[in-house]
């Protein structure tokens, strides 16, 4: 499961996409809209994607994970449009037979997503807005 969606992401659905009796570890990451950035109050975020590139890029992350961590499975859903505070902008589920690989693969998926997938974020404050780029840290 690799997709973009408007409206709240159902975490349990993404989690179920990686269920497998061979898996000893499941890790579900949620990137959530925070109520502040650099001390400034954030009302909500707005995400925009280039779907024709973003979905293949998400699928490519899943492919890389399957190659680097044999037996691992990944599912990623990213929200587009308005994402209010405390709601998830992205849900990444990873299942692996063993636990260390699960943490490695989940983190890999998140960093690859931030670096490679054509999605953009606008922070909307009480008194303005700004497009915010990911840093490489």
């Amino acid at each position: 499961m690799f997709g973009l969606q408007e409206g709240p992401i159902d975490v349990a659905t993404v989690r179920r996409a990686v269920s497998n009796p061979r898996f000893g570890a499941i890790l579900v990451f949620e990137g959530v809209t925070r109520d502040n950035f650099d001390g400034r109050e954030v009302a909500q975020l707005a995400y925009e994607a280039y779907p024709e590139m973003a979905i293949p890029a998400l699928e490519a992350i899943g492919q890389q994970i399957a190659e680097r961590w044999p037996g691992a499975k990944c599912a990623i859903v990213h929200r587009v449009g308005i994402c209010p505070v405390e709601e998830a902008s992205v849900v990444i589920a990873v299942g692996t037979p063993h636990r260390p690989a699960c943490y490695q693969a989940s983190r890999f998926a998140l960093e690859e997503l931030k670096a490679q997938v054509p999605i953009w974020k606008k922070e909307i404050y009480a008194d303005g807005s700004a497009w915010k780029a990911n840093t490489s840290t």
Partner: protein, 79 residues
């Protein structure tokens, strides 16, 4: 002359006031040159972008072909 479809996202979409447009350009134009034509560098310089031709990232020196879908990708913010 060739015709390409240009897609705009995020800050570039807002600056251009458009999501997409058809654009005519010369056969010798590269994707980087097209970007500079549409968004001439202002006092703050140009927004650094990546280039995509038919949904594949390409270098700025890549020549364009008739019917291409072209996109300029501002710094990413997913996650």
């Amino acid at each position: 002359m060739i015709t390409v479809t240009v897609r705009y996202f995020a800050a570039l979409r807002e600056r251009r006031g458009l999501e997409t447009e058809l654009m005519q350009t010369s056969e010798t134009t590269t994707i980087g040159r097209l970007y500079a034509q549409i968004f001439p560098p202002g006092p703050d310089g140009a927004l650094p972008v990546a280039y995509a031709q038919n949904h594949v990232r390409v270098p700025g020196a890549t020549p364009l072909a008739d019917g291409d879908e072209v996109a300029f990708l501002p710094p990413l913010g997913g996650g």
